[in-house]
Amino acid sequence: MGRRAASSAWFLVPAALVAPAPAGATQYLKVEDAQKLAFPQADAFTPFAYAPTAEQRAAIDRAAHAHATAGDPVIWRVSAAGEPLGWFIVDNVIGKVERITYALALGRGGAVRSIEILEYRETHGYEVRNAAWRRQFEGKSARTPLELGDDIRNISGATLSCRHLTDGVRRLLALQDLVLK
């Protein structure tokens, strides 16, 4: 490429920047893909009709000392060849001002198998997608402490997202313990 051609190639950079991005720029993982990732051996994800009573909702809030901030979760019972494997839950929490959609996979005993960020929309704090940070939740259950700072290390610059995701997981663990057991 000649000097003239090389220098004129720079004009392509702005064009590349405004080129259409793939659909769903903030969607990192689809639910069905997250299900396969969390339970590769499963052959059935059966929707669970989660409709808590006011008493159940209050008991969950009390146990988790956290309120639902972005609606109720959607829950599936997971099984393979008729044998239950655990639960797959899609939930939303508010990061700073936007929803973070995440999927929590729980084993039969109610311990966390994995957590995946499905959608992230905030300007800051996307580091919660980092695999090493998410791995800190593995093995946690309603019977283990789960506090940001003490049990889950914070990410500097992503404090609100870290805190609200930790609150959300603690709430789902209480839900599993009180309603799904």
Binding site: A25, P47, H65, T123, A132, D150, R153, I155
Partner: protein, 430 residues
Amino acid sequence: MKKTLIAALAASTFAAAAHAADPAELERRVDQLSSEIAALKAELARMKAEKAVPAPAAAAPAAIDIARATGEAPKLYEEAEKTTFFGYGELNYYRPTHDTSQTTADAARVVLGFEHRWNDRTRLVTELEWEHAVTSSEDQGESEVEQAYVEYQLNQNLSTKTGLFLIPMGLLNEHHEPTQYYGVARNFVETAIIPTTWREGGLLLHGNLDSGLSWDAGLSTGFDLSKWDATSTEGRESPLGSIHQELQLAKAKDLSALGAINYRGIPGLLVGASLFSGKAGQGTPDFPAPDARVTLWDVHGRWTPGSWDLAALYSRGHISDTAALNVTLVGNPTLVPEDFFGWYVQGAYKLWSRDETSATPFLRYERYNTGSKYATLPAGLTPDALPTEGVWTAGLNFYLNPSVVFKMDYQKFRQDTTRDRFDLGVGYQF
């Protein structure tokens, strides 16, 4: 309508019958009329029955019901436009221990902001700030547009900011809410050396990798050295704070380049570095330092294992080609420094917590010098370097909840001990 239809049909049939002269024909037509009326009655009954049974609801079921019924994903994101408000504030009390007549109480900052999202990848971020409560020609307060930029998400790992944005440097500049730092006032290094809250107008490209590495690269407005006021001590308090432009009719002939890199791949760890550089003469006519260049860089780290929060930062600034300018300023109290720097180390420990409430004492030591070297001037006119100040700060952040913090601290200065002081403050964020 149905009754009108029946009446019209009957009338037309009778009219036709009246014109028929043959009795047999008349009888045939009466029979026809009877059968037509019977058919109409049946039709009417059928229509009435349909009306009595409501049609199935036409409204689309909620996303969650779809998920329950089909096992498919709920609707995970909203397409609609959305505007969200946020804000923070800090109200402080400063009491110098050696001269209590200088004690002040101040609504240091009240900030209101909003984000407007047009669609899944385009949004506006605006932050409006009032400092020191009242802004008028007779008061010391300021009202400022602190941020106003359009963010566009190019793909999942790359975004742009266009407009007035915060410079990605240090630990505080982009995360400067009172709940984010220890002590009533922001640390000296990130106010005197890095002029937090430092923003410029321009274009910033931000990328992040799944490994935990993120980077920024951009082109923006920079400093205006022709603003330097040698008669004031402002340049001695913060060299760059005295010549920043904040996009207030900013001189923009000379643009600056900036870049930053940060790593957060290990939970609890942040290490990073940043660089900002640009000419500051801005083409000002007859300005004696047309080629002066401002360069500022920093390295920083933060480690938060368990209840500990440990941080360290080093920053250094340089302004080139200042000799010709300083020659014209000799005799004034504040000449333009060639070098300035600062660093701090800080440790905090969450000593007590119950539910959302927690108490975190901290200790910080910082050293900084806003004029560690001046350009050499002829005839012994070169100013002496300023002494390096050292400050110990010991205090407590008491979080009523993560969004509301009460603070107290004591600051001990090693050089200028008249500045020793006791501080109280309350801060919030929503």
